[in-house]
Each structure stands twice: as C-alpha cells, then as structure tokens.
C-alpha cells in the first residue's frame, strides 16, 4: 500500500523545490551572467564582456580595501562572539531564579530587527549626545568638547561597527552553544570531578572539546551571516567615513542598486561566493559526520 503512492513524495516537495529553483537558483545564475556583462538597470541590453568587470574591480584600491575590511569585520566579530557566547552559555547552563527573564533580555539584540537595533546604537554612539561619551567625560577620561566621534572617525567607526555586529550576533551563538552544553550527559562532568579534574581542566579538556561540533556550526553560520551582511554598516555609517567601513555587500549595493550598474554590482557580490562554498563544504561535512555517529 505504501509503494503504490510513490509519486506522492515528489508531488509534495515539487512546489517548494520549484519555488526555490525559480527564485534562488535562477537569480544565482543570473548573478554570474551579469557579472560578465555590461548590464545596467533600466536598459535591456546585455553584452558579454568576459572578465572585464572583475579586472577593473580588482584594480580598484577601494575595492581591495573593502575586501580586506570584510575579513577584518568578520573575523573580529566572530572571535568576540565565540568567546562571549561560550562564557555566557556557561553562566546560563544551570537553573537560577529569573532565568527566563534574563533569557528574554539576552535574546533582544538578535530578535529585534537588525536595522532597529543598529538605529538604537546610532543614537547611543551619536557624536554629540552619546551616553557613552557622557560617562567618559564624567570619569574624566575625555574632554567635554572633544568627545569621540564614534561613527565619524575611521578607526572608531570600524570598531563601533564590529562591536554592534557582535552585539547582534551574540544571542544566536549563545543559544546554539547552550544547546550543545545541555546535550552533554550529566555524568560526564561528574566522572571528571571524581577523576580529580577541577573547573578549568573540565571546561577546556572535556566540555569544550565535546561541544566542538556545535561550536563549529555556530561559527560557520555566524561567519556567513556576518560576511554577507550589509545592514549594520548601512545604518551606522553608510560605509563611511570616507569609505573606511565598506565591505563587499555594501559595495555591491552602492554600485549595483544605487549606482544602477548591475554588472559591476553583480561582479562585486560574486566575491562572496568563495566563502559560501567553503562554508557549504564544512556544513556538509559536519552533517555527514553527525549521520555517522
């Protein structure tokens, strides 16, 4: 009886697969096609130009700097997220009064729309009215008339953008790592205690190694979301000051959408693909590993 309706399976997933092929697969290919063309918004002309766009992009020092900044942005925030999420997860593992409320607070940066959270930070980091500056002035760390331009001075702007993105990603990583922590059977840390391991040894030699697969997942996803994100930077600095906080996605947006040059925008965004391929490889590998064990 089960065999007879063999066609049911494919019929049931066909709509979803078709949808994705049409609105993800096709555009994905189009991105490549645009990147080797001279397409512009508003015109229907299309001419194949080979690698011309890529060459001109790679010769542009501004783009090279954006590429570098993409990595700086991603790696810095991911490192901070990793350390922070592990510490936070450890502190949330055991039940304590008010845990639900704390969880609500801690989730807010991830749950609220990114643009909204970033806007909140824009106000907090305002060059005149920043509450952080106010505190620093009161602590006599800076002069009242010389408060830092958190989003207006290149190094500070980069730092601010990294910190806001870290702030946004931290809850996500924490939740995943916490799930990994609670999946460790209770008797493993007990065995470690009986074996004589103290807190540090247990954490670094037992707990964290056991969580490595899940930490991998959190880092992988975090890296992808960070590398391909444009929202935080767009809201906070628009890529400024003087293009010092541009990253690949924002460059693609400014060129392709605001600049109406589809070909250039597409070519820039293609630079996201290598990372995606590497990440996809690792995702597949850990999925395969999970099946084996």
């Amino acid at each position: 009886m089960i065999r007879r309706q063999r066609w049911l399976g494919p019929v049931m997933f066909m709509p979803a697969i078709t949808y994705i092929l049409a609105l993800v697969g096709v555009p994905f290919l189009m991105a490549f096609l645009y990147s080797v063309s001279d397409a512009k918004v508003g015109s229907v002309s299309y001419h194949y130009v080979g690698a011309r766009n890529f060459i001109s992009i790679l010769h542009n020092p501004a783009f090279i700097r954006s590429l570098k900044d993409s990595f700086v942005f991603t790696i810095s925030s991911q490192v901070l997220v990793l350390i922070g999420a592990n510490i936070l997860a450890l502190s949330l593992k055991d039940a304590f009064p008010g845990r639900r409320f704390f969880r609500f607070l801690i989730l807010l940066p991830w749950v609220a729309p990114v643009s909204i959270g970033s806007l909140g930070w824009k106000w907090i980091l305002d060059s005149l009215y920043s509450v952080i500056s106010w505190v620093m002035v009161r602590m006599h760390l800076v002069n009242q008339y010389d408060t830092p331009m958190w989003l207006g001075e290149p190094k500070l702007a980069m730092m601010s953008v990294i910190l806001v993105h870290t702030w946004h990603m931290l809850p996500f990583a924490t939740v995943i790592i916490l799930a990994g922590l609670t999946a460790i059977p209770k008797d493993i840390p007990e065995a470690a205690a009986v074996d004589g391991a103290g807190f540090l040894r247990t954490t670094f030699q037992i707990t964290i190694p056991m969580m490595l697969p899940i930490i991998n997942v959190a880092v992988l996803f975090g890296a992808i979301f960070t590398f391909t994100d444009m929202t935080v930077i767009y809201i906070l600095t628009r890529g400024g000051p003087y293009d010092t906080t541009q990253v690949i996605p924002t460059e693609a947006f400014f060129a392709g959408i605001l600049g109406s040059d589809l070909a250039e925008g597409a070519a820039i965004s293609i630079f996201l693909v290598p990372l995606l391929i590497v990440a996809a490889y690792f995702v597949l590998r850990s999925a395969h590993r999970a099946e084996v064990t």
Binding site: V11, Y19, L128, V217, F253, I257, S269, L276
Partner: protein, 282 residues
C-alpha cells in the same frame, strides 16, 4: 569548613556577575530606547543634563508624533500583512515538502533536504541584484508584493529543515498503524501528522514571521516609496527629515517594534532549539 564555603560561594558570585554583565550590555540599547521615547527634546538636547535621569517631566509627544504625523502605523500594517501572506505561502509549500523529504524519499531525500537548507545560506546581498531585475520584469517594483514573493525564498528552506526534524521525531509506527487502519499515505499526512505537529508548525509560523519583520535588504532594494515600506526599512529611512534625526520618535518606533517580537520569540525559543538540535544532530 570555611574553605569549602568559599570554594562554593565564589563561583556563584562570578556566575551572577557574568550574567548581569551580559544582560546589561545586551539589553541596554532597548532600555535606552525606552528612556529616550519619553524624554522631552529639550531634555535630550541639553548636554549638561544627566542622560540617565528624567531632568524634565516625561512626555508622550514623541509617541503622538510617531502615530499621528508619520507613516509608522502604515508600515506596521504593511509588515504584518506581508508577514501573514508570507507565512501562509511558506506553510503551504514547506509542510508537504518537509513531510515528503522526511518520510517518503529515503536516502536521497535527506540529501535533498540538506540541499534545500543550503540555499538558506545564499545571501540576499548576492541575489538582490538579479532579483531586482526579476521584480521589475514582473512589474512588482515598489510594491509589497515584491517582498511577499521573494521572502519565501528564505523562509521555506529554513522552515522545511525545521519541520523535517519535527516529522522525523514522530515514530513511523503511528503512520503505519493509521495506514493499516485504512488511511492512505496522504490521509495519514493530513489527519495524523499535521495535528501531531501543531507545535512544530506553530514554531515555524513564529519564526517565519520574525524572519519577515527582521528583513532589511530586499525591502530596501525593491520598495522605494514610503507608503509601501515595511517597518524595518521605513523607520531608519523615512523618520529622518533632511539631516535631522528625530531621536525621540525614532526610539519610540524602535521600542514598539522590538518588544512584542521579543516576547513572542522568548515564548517559542525552547521549541526552536528542539527543532534545531533534532534536525542537526540527526
């Protein structure tokens, strides 16, 4: 005795300090939104005032401005309407797909499931350029329909994967028993699996909805006029007149947007983790 007490109390204190530190750092901006919403402009703009206090009496002016003189209510409606439609489309496509991949297809079904999930990793910042052409080709530019059509491209992969996990956790025996009792495979799906998965389906609804509210790039790209915009893009874009930021109303808008979603998410977080780890650890 004293040593034992110290080694027990010290870790506890450190734990609490960690918790409070992170809670403050993570939630502070929202607290700041709250305060700013109710502070008078004269209070906000006076550098001599302590920003942590209400130096003048609180006011509802920013809220009034937000609701009476801006398109904020419109944006909220737009977002909720679009969200609803996106959720419906997602459910219609993802629920059967997840079932088919979890139950009806064996080996290659699992692979296909992973493939579907991988498409979630293809970023909007890569697809938005070709999609903008597709959108204009369909004549949907500057219309909410553009995002209603495009958003399922990321809600479907994610929801399918979540639901696959949920479906897999229901024992096969139940369906077999139903079919022995006379139901067809499709009947077993509709009358047994779906009712048993209401928890999973509800989780998917919530998360698809929150994915819609959080989205920024597509809405920014496809929709240009203020009247058709969503909340996530409207607030940062249109609440600024020239170079002047109306921080009071801005923060009011942010606050109203963040908190309800926060509550919802918190309620369903456990289910989400269940689905996530069930799907991932399989």
């Amino acid at each position: 005795m004293a040593r034992r007490r110290l080694t027990k109390v010290l870790p506890r204190i450190v734990m609490w300090l960690v918790r409070i530190f992170f809670a403050v750092v993570l939630a502070f901006p929202f607290y700041w939104m709250l305060i700013t919403t109710f502070k008078r402009n004269t209070d906000l703009n006076n550098l001599k005032n302590n920003p942590f206090l209400f130096n003048e009496s609180p006011t509802l002016d920013h809220l009034k401005l937000l609701f009476r003189e801006t398109l904020f209510p419109r944006w909220v409606l737009n977002t909720m309407g679009a969200g609803l439609l996106v959720v419906i489309i997602t459910l219609l496509l993802a629920v059967p797909a997840a079932y088919a991949l979890a139950r009806l297809t064996g080996e290659w079904g699992a692979q296909l499931g992973i493939g579907v999930f991988l498409t979630y990793l293809i970023p909007p910042t890569l697809l938005f350029i070709p999609l903008s052409k597709v959108v204009s080709f369909l004549g949907l530019q500057d219309s909410l329909w553009s995002i209603i059509i495009v958003y399922p491209t990321f809600t479907i992969p994610f929801s399918t994967w979540l639901l696959m996990g949920f479906f897999k956790s229901i024992p096969r025996d139940l369906e077999d028993a139903a079919m022995v009792d006379g139901l067809t495979q499709w009947g077993a799906f509709v009358k047994l699996m779906i009712p048993m998965s209401t928890s999973g389906i509800l989780t998917v609804v919530i998360f698809a909805f929150t994915l819609v509210t959080q989205e920024f790039v597509y809405a920014l790209t496809f929709i240009s006029s203020a009247a058709h915009q969503t909340v996530g893009v409207g607030v940062p874009t249109f609440l600024i007149r020239g170079d002047v930021y109306y921080w009071g109303s801005l923060m009011a808008a942010c606050l109203i947007t963040s908190l309800p979603i926060g509550f919802l998410y918190n309620l369903f977080l456990d289910r989400f983790i269940e689905g996530f780890t069930v799907g991932a650890v399989k």
